[in-house]
């Protein structure tokens, strides 16, 4: 594992994570389908996970990896709730396009 970090360099991991994170952000910004937006959020979370794992290795410290498990559990719970909300919305308006949700404004 040391080798991997040494060979590639921690910066690269960070850049990759940032790129992934940005992909997530842009996805959320430009897609209007709720499922895809959820997935983009997952990408953001996972980019952070990757960063944690990378740093964990870099620092020779297990805490980072433990944290990732927390994150995954939380992400799962979050998505579960999110999907539940989505289902109720679909039941009510028959669509999962978030642009249709414009009742609350002003």
């Amino acid at each position: 594992m040391e080798n991997v970090i040494e060979i590639i360099g921690i910066e690269k991991y960070i850049y990759l994570s940032i790129i992934l994170f940005c992909i997530g952000v842009f996805g959320i910004l430009f897609r209007r389908n709720a499922i895809i937006m959820f997935m983009c959020i997952e990408i953001m979370l996972n980019s952070a996970n990757m960063l944690l794992v990378a740093f964990s290795t870099y620092h020779q410290d297990a805490q980072g990896q433990v944290f990732v498990f927390f994150t995954m559990a939380v992400a799962a719970a979050e998505v579960a709730v999110g999907l539940a909300i989505l289902v109720t919305i679909y039941r009510n308006i028959g669509s999962i396009d978030i642009d249709k949700l414009k009742n609350l404004k002003g």
């Binding site: 952000v25 909300i85 609350l104």
Partner: protein, 458 residues
Amino acid sequence: MNTLIAIGVLAVLVLIAEIINLRKMVIPMTVIGLLGILGYTVCNISVVEAYYNNMFVSTRFSNAFSSLFIALTIFIVALSNDFYKNEFTKIADYVSLKLFLLMGAICMVSFGNMAMFFLGLEILSITLYILCGADRKNIKSNESAMKYFLLGSFASGIVLFGIALIYGATGSFDIAQISNIAVSTSLPVWYALGATMIIIGMLFKVAAVPFHFWAPDVYQGAPTLTTTIMSTLVKVTAIATLYKISVNLLHQMPESYMNALIFITIITLTVGNIMAIRQDNMKRLLAYSGISHAGFMMMALTALGSASPNLFYYATAYSFAGMAAFTVLMAVCKNNEDELISSFDGLGKRNPLMAIVLSIALLSMGGIPVFAGFFGKFFLFSQAIQNGYITLVIFGVINSFISIYYYLKVIIRMFANYEETNREKLAVPALYSIIGTIAAAIIIVVGLFPSLLLNLFN
């Protein structure tokens, strides 16, 4: 820690009560349990201790805020009885969710480790997403849940990324260690980036401009009781956490960080107030006023380290005023589809008690002495001036009287002599009256004796 465990146990007991069909017991049991826990926490307020490798650290700050959260939860749980009458079968779910939410909140102010912070944040957020969407068949509730969920998890992602960066820079999740390392060594730019992202995440939670757009929509759409939670408990939690994080992460940062925060504070104050002026929905109005109050509370960030009593005071004043206001809102609008301000017309005649409670709440929020809100503002202004932020205070003052404008508008409507409408008396469940009165009484008592709260920190 005992507090947290006890709340967890209480939540499980609530679920068990559901299983053994003791639904009627749920609320009394929870209230009594929480009262006990509150007593315990207040008695042990001076206990400073760390648990589980500094995962959880109880300090005066965290204990004080925890007590406040518990007290607020007691009110909220007590209100649940009437609020969920139509869905009484699910009462245990709602109550236990609130208790979990409380746990999340306590974690957020008591964390010693980033993991705990993140967990607390997520527990709080996820339970809120559920509570927002609790009114499943109402499209507004759905929309509010969806908006909150999307923006909230987006913010969570940012926070998480920030945590990861900080971890990368310092090699630790322990907040004390991070703080020490930040002071002793010079850290790579990721550290600053990470700290910024965490703070942005928390600014989202407190609904600071420009991360505030969700707040009015979500407040409006969510069931009113959930809105109450959001505008009191969650807002206070978020601001306390923001403060705690800032204390630990920001003290070695260059001037520009403070400037940015001050700027955000000012626009939060101003935007919140200006937007509130033209609202005709009471919940939206309170949401926008909540935004500006967040701005006021952010003034505490000008005195990192010494502002905790003042912040706590303001938070208490604000949250009880919010509690009183929402209690009245629930009582008045319980049968209405919308929470239009016009439904308060003539409340002074229809139900004087509620009208007085709401007036006290709003006047306190507006900063009229002798209500607590005034002292809160005073302490924060005082702090800011002491630290030389006079511009900030001037903006605070200008915003104070802008805010009085829309609070008074509501008050006027209540006491207006709308003879032509001449509606019948408004019957209000006794519980609402009691809770509203207690909240109003707290506002006044705390206002007359500010030392009660300030001394908690000595």
